[in-house]
Amino acid sequence: MAHHDNHMADHSENHSEHIVPVRVYILVFLTLIVMTWVTAFVSTVDLGRLNVFVALSIAIFKASLVILFFMHVKYGARLTKFIVLAGLYWLILLLFIAMVDLWTRGWMGVPGR
């Protein structure tokens, strides 16, 4: 860790050159592995309609860990964070608006739908 401290001192003014400690990477890695096998085993339990929500929640949790720590967004510039959130916002618009249409078409009893 001495090396790490020296390096931080060299770049003390440079906040984008944040060095993440190795133990953070290891912890994130172990969590990702455990959650992979948790989601695999949970899928074999019949939770009815909840199965897909559990699977997607775990996937979103895993993806968030990768984005925040492996991709350094947690330590990144505010503009980077803004662009990531803007991208996710557009993805949600794409998926959610289209799916709300498909989910609710049957509700009106319109022939041909």
Binding site: N14, S16, S43
Partner: protein
């Protein structure tokens, strides 16, 4: 014209940037804008998947049960390992440890190779069982088998596009390994390593969603098989 030899480190800051930090932020933001276009690119396929899954849930469930849960989970594990080695490669570069950087990049390449090897085995398995959509398509014991090709089309389309991204990653990785071995990247400047790391982690994230969506539908019927 004999030009004086300038040490590499001195020319890494381009004249139109105020300082190293601004230069790196510009690269990072540019890379993220590219990744957002990639998110939307894959997003269209995910939308197609969700739309057809809600239209033909029984066909998707029984067709999905044809995938091998163990291979899928093992391959997810391999890809997460390659994300760790990639993160460690960026870490080594930032500390100026050249040999470690090269070693972690090579490890990333090898783990990526294992992933695609397993994927190739799975594709082959689908091929010999006639589970590739087309004239000879069969889905033995499938419910609503007429719509099963929709699942397999999306399976091959989405995993295929993902694998294509990995192949592109391999080419870039080989270039980065050679450049790293030659000492091109230093603690002060190793932006290409970092930007490639973002790309590699993005490809990992796509798989993190593909695994539950393609392999884990209605598994209570098959158990751990």
């Amino acid at each position: 014209m004999a030009s004086p030899t300038i040490p590499h480190e001195e020319v890494t800051l381009r004249h139109h940037f105020a300082n190293d930090e601004q230069q790196k932020d510009a690269s990072t933001i540019g890379m993220w804008v590219f990744l957002v276009t990639e998110i939307m690119f894959f997003g269209g396929l995910f939308l197609a998947y969700f739309a057809y899954r809600q239209a033909y849930p029984a066909a998707f469930a029984s067709a999905s049960n044809k995938t091998n849960l163990w291979l899928g989970a093992a391959n997810t594990t391999v890809l997460i390992c390659s994300s760790l080695t990639m993160a460690m490669a960026v870490h080594s570069a930032a500390l100026g440890k050249r040999k470690l950087l090269v070693a972690f990049l090579v490890a990333t390449l090898l783990l990526g190779g294992v992933f695609l090897g397993v994927k190739a085995y799975e594709y082959h398995d689908k091929w010999v069982h006639h589970e590739v959509p087309g004239a000879h398509f069969e889905c033995e014991g499938c419910v609503d088998a007429g719509h099963a090709p929709l699942f397999f089309s999306l399976y091959f389309g989405m995993t295929g596009l993902h694998a294509t991204h990995m192949l592109v990653g391999f080419v870039i990785l080989v270039i980065l390994i050679v450049q790293s071995a030659k000492g091109k990247y230093t603690a002060k400047w190793h932006t290409p390593i970092e930007m490639f790391g973002l790309y590699w982690h993005f490809v990992d994230i796509v798989w993190i969603f593909l695994f539950p969506l393609l392999y884990l539908i209605d598994r209570s019927k098959t158990g751990l098989k």
